[in-house]
Symmetry: C2
Subunit: 123 residues, 2 copies
Amino acid sequence: MIMTDPLTATFAALADPTRRAMLARLARGPATVNELAEPFTLSLPTVSRHLKVLEDAGLVVKERDRQFRPCRLDTGPLQSADTWMEPYREFFGERLDRLDQQLKAMMVARRDAARTKKPGEGK
Amino acid sequence: MIMTDPLTATFAALADPTRRAMLARLARGPATVNELAEPFTLSLPTVSRHLKVLEDAGLVVKERDRQFRPCRLDTGPLQSADTWMEPYREFFGERLDRLDQQLKAMMVARRDAARTKKPGEGK
């Protein structure tokens, strides 16, 4: 049996649009399972299954001491994912720079092409 | 058939320690499949399978015009994941504040307990 590391569990939990929507709902405040199920056209068992994945990843905590056991968001695992992302962030600017350079090169090429064209040459 | 949205494909691709290690390797520069396989005790087909997941998610691009078709990192999908993370970041500070408060409360409680203990009471 392969033990799943926390970061893998977090990313696997985030790899589903319904689960991401559930997290977005919980970011606005705690909610019961019924309240979480409401906006989705999903059965309660399906929502519970998604919730289980989020709980196992530590992204959702069920308040055990309160009636209806509302679920609340724990952003701890997201913070770890955010930290993992850190070394890659330096590329984001570079990537934009590269796209920017490509765009500029295309514009220069287009302008040059327009200039070298004789009037009426067209096409 | 359910179409996988780009964000889901990205998070699913990140949900594996080998694939994350491969991305970390590519962050240092392009590498051939053999170079990528080297540090892992994995067969070439297994590495190729992981690479396929990364390619499908757009995280890795194979240079088609060069010999040995080296793989390079494309951080575009990571940037989208980073953007998705944005609204949750405001909670990170809050969470630390709460942990900090809990720690302070524990320290106060411990100090109070130590003060109320009579000398020699111990245990």
